[in-house]
């Protein structure tokens, strides 16, 4: 009996970790609705996946308070997991520590660039009034000769910039 119990729990543990990996894999296929080239895992909003008494618990940290994409994230997570046989799902939201662009994975930054969005660059002066603006590298032509048009863009996470070299507007993922 003791041995059986041990074997059972051991098997369960192994299968739990396989399941956790499978869930991470599936989550990594869910695109950010605003920037479809990167996944919600690459964006850094998925903080934890765990299996507790056969229930899949996915912990996420919202990026921006009013980001309409957040509701789509949770719907997509349910849908994708359910379609792959995970019926018992709980999505937990954790607010602290707050999401930061530091959590965006490195290769996702390159994908953003190729999609025409300048990835976040460290911007400690960003909050100062009339701060001397650093120059964001244009994702299209690669020149750093650019200027800020507006701190607010098409989605809460992006600012609007203009490239003085190729004379094209581009979006910049704000450092947050």
């Amino acid at each position: 009996m003791v041995k059986d119990n041990f074997t059972d729990s051991h098997t369960e543990m192994a299968s739990d970790s396989t399941m956790v990996n499978k869930v991470w894999e599936l989550l990594n296929t869910i695109p950010d609705p605003d920037i479809p080239v990167i996944s919600i895992v690459e964006l850094g909003i998925v903080r934890k996946v765990e299996i507790v008494s056969q229930k899949v618990i996915v912990t996420i940290t919202p990026s921006y308070s009013g980001c309409p994409a957040m509701n789509i994230f949770t719907d997509d997570i349910r849908q994708v997991l359910a379609a792959n046989g995970f019926e018992n799902i709980e999505i937990k939201t954790v607010l602290s520590p707050a999401w930061t662009t530091d959590w965006i994975k490195e290769d996702a930054r390159e994908k953003m660039r190729q999609h025409g969005i300048a990835p976040p660059e460290n911007d400690p002066d960003g909050e100062f009034i009339f701060a001397k603006q650093k120059h964001v590298t244009c994702p299209r032509c690669g020149h750093a000769d650019s200027r800020l048009v507006s701190q607010f863009g098409s989605t809460p996470c992006k600012a609007l910039w203009y490239c003085n070299n190729c004379n094209q507007p581009f979006e910049y993922f704000k450092c947050h």
Partner: protein, 252 residues
Amino acid sequence: MNTKDALINYCLRLADNSMIAGQRLAEWNSCGPYLEEDIALSNMALDFFGQAETMYEYASQLINNQKTADDLAFRRSEREYFNCLLAEQPNGDFAYTMMKQFLFSTYLKYMYETLSSSNDETLKGFAERSLKEVKYHFRHSSEWIIRFGNGTEESLKRAQFALDELWRFTDDLFCMNATDEELISTGITVSSDSIAAKWNLTVKEILQAAHLTIPEKFNVITGGYSGIHSEHLGHLLCEMQYLQRAYPDAKW
């Protein structure tokens, strides 16, 4: 007042502040002075609605889901709203709105900074995230105030008029009542005195850079956090709550 009731009131205050400020900014939708500015105003409104939702959800949890976040936003009348008077004031012209935004977002910036060390985990997380957002609001409105002051005679005149009109509502931002007393004693919040001191310094610095003068004579009006409002809130709620009142439980 017990701690739980005080916490519920405080969540509603935070939520109502954001909700009403967001509703006012949303009135600018498609009326902004130019496209980028229109988008900026809508973006800030969206930040506010997101913040309000988080706090209404928390308040709803604290009352054991007897009311939903939507019930709290759309089915309370003005006396049950705990937002500050500044947030509910009408938009006026663009300079007026920016002055409101400037006085309000400077307050929110220091308030969220302080609340980031709350011993309530939800409030702490909420404040950390909201702080990142209002820093943009603060920078955006401060730059406009400085531009108005150093722009034309007309822009200076309009910014000064806005300051003269709105200054009387600024004491209200730092008013404390039984809710604050209870939460300060339990370490959930701190006295607003330290926030007021920082606010005063920053506001004066920016107004000086904009050649604007704080009015010498004004009637202090307070009461927002205790549910005593100006006539404007009722009109705002009429419009904002119309759909949920006419078609209860309507879903998007």
